[in-house]
C-alpha cells in the first residue's frame, strides 16, 4: 500500500534563509507527486506537481521540488523564505487513477 512520510512536523527557519521540507513515499509503481500549501485559516491550494518529464519541478511563490525515484523522495525547497510563507505544507502521492494519499503535514515557521 502507498504511504507518504513527511519527516518533520515543524520546521523553524529564519526569514531569508533557505528551507527544505522533506517528503518520502512508498509505492511499487509509477506515481504522481504533489505539494499543497495551507495558509492560516484557509483551504489547501496546489503549490506544484510532478506528473512526468523533468524531475525538477517549479511551483508558485518561488518553491521547487525534485523527484528522486531511487530514493522515493520529493523534497520541497525554497532558497529564501519570507514571513508570508508561514503555512502548513502537505505532500501527496497518487498512483495513476487512484485517490491522493496525504502526508501528515509540515508546519513552516518563519522567525524574524
Amino acid at each position: 500500500a502507498q504511504s507518504v512520510t513527511q519527516l518533520d512536523s515543524q520546521v523553524p527557519v529564519f526569514e531569508e534563509a533557505p528551507v527544505e521540507l522533506r517528503c518520502n513515499y512508498s509505492s511499487s509503481v509509477s506515481v504522481y507527486l504533489f505539494w499543497y500549501v495551507q495558509y492560516p485559516n484557509q483551504g489547501l491550494q496546489l503549490l506544484l506537481k510532478y506528473l512526468s518529464g523533468s524531475t525538477l519541478v517549479k511551483g508558485i511563490n518561488g518553491f521547487e521540488a525534485e523527484f528522486n525515484k531511487s530514493q522515493t523522495s520529493f523534497h520541497l525547497r525554497k532558497p529564501s523564505v519570507h514571513i508570508s510563507d508561514t503555512a502548513e505544507y502537505f505532500c501527496a502521492v497518487s498512483e495513476p487513477e487512484y485517490q491522493l494519499i496525504w502526508g501528515a503535514g509540515t508546519k513552516l515557521i518563519i522567525k524574524p
Binding site: G43, L44, Q99, L100, W102, G105
Partner: protein, 113 residues
C-alpha cells in the same frame, strides 16, 4: 478561477445532533471529496463522489454519510454527532476521471460538545 465554497466556517453542535455540511463548486467538476483534517494526521478521506448520486467510501466513513443530488453540490451528514467528530472538514473537487489536482474549499471547523 475554480471556486469551492462551504456552508459554514465555524459550527458548534451538541452530541447527538444531526449535522449537515454543504459544499458547492462552480466549475462543473465530476469528482468531489470530503476530508477531515486533524493535527498530525494530515487529511483523511471520508467519502468521495464521481458523479451525481454516486458515492464511494473513503478511509474513515464510519459515522458519516453523503448526498450528491446535483453535480455542483456535495453534502456531508453526521447522523448523530459525537465529540470525536470535532475536527476541520475540507471539501475538494476535481474534473476528469484522474483525480489529481484537487481544489479545496476554506474548510468548516466543527466542534461537538
Amino acid at each position: 478561477d475554480v471556486k469551492v465554497t462551504q456552508s459554514s466556517r465555524y459550527l458548534v453542535k451538541r452530541t447527538g445532533e444531526k449535522v449537515f455540511l454543504e459544499c458547492v463548486q462552480d466549475m462543473d467538476h465530476e469528482n468531489m471529496f470530503w476530508y477531515r483534517q486533524d493535527p498530525g494526521l494530515g487529511l483523511r478521506l471520508i467519502y468521495f463522489s464521481y458523479d451525481v448520486k454516486m458515492k464511494e467510501k473513503g478511509d474513515i466513513p464510519e459515522g458519516y454519510s453523503v448526498s450528491r443530488e446535483k453535480k455542483e453540490r456535495f453534502s456531508l451528514i453526521l447522523e448523530s454527532a459525537s465529540t470525536n467528530q470535532t475536527s476541520m472538514y475540507l471539501c475538494a473537487s476535481t474534473g476528469g476521471w484522474r483525480s489529481y489536482e484537487q481544489y479545496f474549499g476554506p474548510g468548516t471547523r466543527l466542534t461537538v460538545t
